[in-house]
Amino acid sequence: MDNRSSLLPAAASLFATSCLQCTLVYLTTLNAYAPGPYYPLMLLPYSLVLFAANRLFLRRERTVLGLVLLNGGLSLAAFLSVVLVNPLPDWGSLLFAALFCLWLAARAGQLAWSPPTLFQLILSVDLCLAALALFTAYLAALELPVSWCAPIAAGCAASILGLIVYRSGSSLNLKSGLFLAAVFAGVFAMVWLLVGYLAAPAGEGLVTLWNWLVSAVLFLLGQLWRLLVFLTSLLPPAPAEELTLEPEQIQMPEQEETLTQANPVVLAAFLAILALAALVLAIRLALRLRRLRLAPHTHSVRISGTRAGRISLLAGLRRLLAGLWSRFVLRLTLWRNRNTAWGLYFLLVRRSAPTPWHKLRGETPREFLTRLREGAAGDQDLAQALDRLIPAVDLALFSPGGPEGELPQAPLIRRRLGRAMGLLTLRQLVSRLPGLRSRLAGENPGGPSPHSSSPA
């Protein structure tokens, strides 16, 4: 993936992170007070400014120290702007504001250097969508307007967009963007339909169901209670003596609170030593970072395949309709010939396709029908009918000008075969359970496969 196509996913990931942080601030503050117009909304454009600044900065070869200084400066500027424009009421909020500014700066520096991985993008999407649901519940509980969800909704959209661009490996053009917008609109329309028209009747139905369930449970509990009372009435009565216990009154002794007062001189010395150690550490870190160099971004040429095999939408629709028509004609043919030997055979092949007893690749019609016949051995009539079907299918499929007449046993086979094979599968599953259990315990027994022709 070249750098051009990692631009949007990286920017989207950073933007989604800022939206999450904004929502987190709302979650912690909305129940006490309404946040100001500047913070935390400023985190959104701040993240984009950070990303752009880092990208531009890394166009040439730089040191890690330079990158750290750039991001540190930007985060400090952002924090100061928050303090001056939108003063926060408590130290906790200030601390979180500083942390968020620093976090975004660090993430921007990281993303400007290396593109996000798929796992990070998926995580971003999951977190945004979960935060959207959680925040909506929070707003509903506090009876606040849903417009507070706008940042997190934007974050969801950005993270999904970043994921789409990452997966496709190239930028979205107008056609692809319109297609995705149409799908989104379709999902919205379904939601509107469901919530607007079906939610009320569904809700009423749900209430009715709930009441029925509650009544049924209460009835059962009542019956159980009566049974318990009846059973206890059969027991011999308890002896006359009764022991009474009085709870003891236990009192905890009160703890004596002692206050220790710190020596101010010692505290000052300790703080000075700490500050000195921090300064020394910062200088050493800066010297190390100065030695690390970051190469400038290079744009690699991406080779893509030619697109000569595209057909127009009309031609595509025509092919789709042709495919649907041929399927319809096939189904109609099979239905019309459902009582002939060959028609019944193909019907059975089709019907068994999604089941465990489907026709295997390379299996002849005789082998397939013999396997079905062995599985249906428990049903005498069905087994006899299949015995008559097998040679009829051979004749119909392989002899030129074979008989085309209807089989009288065809309706019986169609009616009973599914049930017989279902019972066989159930029996095989039950017989394999001990093997599965021992395999879970650590052994490896062999077991019969659904295709094994074991007699019922």
Partner: protein, 425 residues
């Protein structure tokens, strides 16, 4: 794609328990009167459901076919593999990805490759693929019934065999939430070999006992006592070949075709385990394999029948190739890897004895002119049972390390002597 789709690298939102949980929460929210929350949860549920269904439908009708231009290359060569990706349905694919895990030795590397992330590395390591690089080619927006022809160039870096069994096609829904994958090549794929590097060698050692081996009939003689068949006389035929018995019976003139006496071939035995052990010599092994491959190719060009036996390696059983095609022998050399190391109780590496398929060897010994046993150090010959069983009269030792002292009664030739002057490995 007939294979069942495998869900991988997808969002947690689309997992079935999460879907069910979202639906339940939505119903509960609607039941308790939180309409907007129910709407959001319903949106998430429908989005995830749509993504899941879309992903499953996306894989249907997607067909990827490939056919390599060659099955074996030499290091430094480029192999072109044309691929054809066909979307056989009306639903367009927003994205698709062809994923090529690479062999641990990185013998073949595609032009587009990347480093796998941490999550991929564990899966790749479990499946026995390289965790340093993976090959990948992305496609975006495959429209209805569209076919995209691709050409991927692979560079052969070093000796090895690369299996295409792990090739995958990945696609999913348009939102990127779900990824489904399926194998590209059914039935285990193919194997592409990077043969040992060829160098210039001197084959005179192997042609000593062969009459006219370097020119003319290449050592093949006719047995005048055995007439295989006859044919009509032609003016260019020698009079000595005319079948006079038939001519005496007034039949048309015919000439005899005599049975060929094929010269005895040479058979190479590679003792790869002598190059490993407590002090492994991997570069010397590669050099020996290069010399061996070059000799096989050169002798085959001189129409000298060659055979090859490899001792048991990490791939499984020992290999015996008698009168095999040159490509087959080169493939066996490309695939050979020494056995995995073994340690004793004290943690020291153990030397492992080479294991050959000896019964087949002795059975074929009658048609073999001479055996050439390749090992690292001729001084360790006493520990090798097979050369002694074959006998010093028909076995020559080809060794990497030789101090000039005779190894018993065996003729010993250093591998360096077989190289032409100025040839580089």
């Amino acid at each position: 794609m007939g294979a069942k789709p495998i869900f991988s690298r997808s969002s947690t939102l689309v997992v079935l328990p999460t879907l069910a949980g979202t639906l339940v929460l939505c119903l509960l929210a609607a039941f308790f009167g939180y309409g907007k929350l129910a709407a959001v949860l319903m949106f998430l549920f429908l989005l995830a459901l749509a993504a899941r269904l879309w992903a499953v439908l996306a894989l249907r009708g997607l067909d990827v076919s490939a056919a390599p231009s060659a099955w074996g290359v030499f290091p430094g060569d480029t192999l072109t593999i044309p691929l054809r990706v066909h979307n056989g349905k009306f639903l367009p694919l927003v994205w698709a990805e062809l994923f090529f895990p690479l062999s641990p030795q990185l013998c073949l590397v595609p032009e587009e490759s990347r480093e796998p992330d941490e999550r991929e590395q564990s899966t790749l390591a479990e499946d026995g693929y390289s965790t340093q690089l993976v090959g990948e080619r992305r496609l975006s927006f495959l429209l209805w019934y569209e076919t995209v022809p691709l050409t991927i160039r692979w560079t052969a870096r070093r000796r090895g065999v690369y299996s295409t069994a792990g090739w995958r096609v990945r696609t999913g829904d348009g939102f990127g939430l779900v990824q489904v994958e399926a194998p590209i090549l059914q039935g285990g794929g193919w194997q592409l070999a990077v043969y040992p590097r060829l160098i210039k060698v001197r084959p005179e050692l192997f042609l000593r006992n062969r009459w006219n081996s370097d020119t003319g009939a290449r050592g093949v003689m006719e047995d005048p006592t055995v007439i295989r068949s006859t044919r009509d006389y032609q003016t260019t035929d020698s009079l000595k070949r005319i079948n006079w018995r038939l001519a005496a019976r007034c039949l048309p003139l015919t000439v005899n075709i005599y049975e060929d006496i094929l010269p005895r071939g040479v058979h190479f035995l590679l003792d790869g385990e002598s190059f490993s052990g407590p002090q492994p010599h991997p570069e010397e092994l590669e050099d020996a394999l290069s010399v061996l491959a070059s000799l096989v190719v050169r002798l085959s060009a001189l129409q000298v029948p060659c055979g090859l036996s490899l001792c048991r390696g990490s791939g499984g059983e020992a290999v015996n190739l008698f009168a095999a095609a040159t490509e087959e022998m080169l493939f066996a050399l490309a695939a050979y890897q020494v056995c995995p190391p073994k340690w004793d109780e004290n943690g020291a590496l153990l030397s492992q004895a080479p294991i050959f398929q000896e019964p087949a060897l002795f059975e074929a010994a009658r048609s073999v002119g001479r055996f050439y046993y390749i090992l690292y150090d001729a001084a360790r010959l006493d520990a090798k049972a097979l050369p002694h069983r074959l006998g010093s009269s028909c076995t020559t030792l080809l060794t990497c390390l030789w101090d000039g002292k005779p190894a018993g009664e065996f003729e010993t030739v250093p591998l360096e002597q077989l190289k032409e002057v100025g040839s580089n490995g």
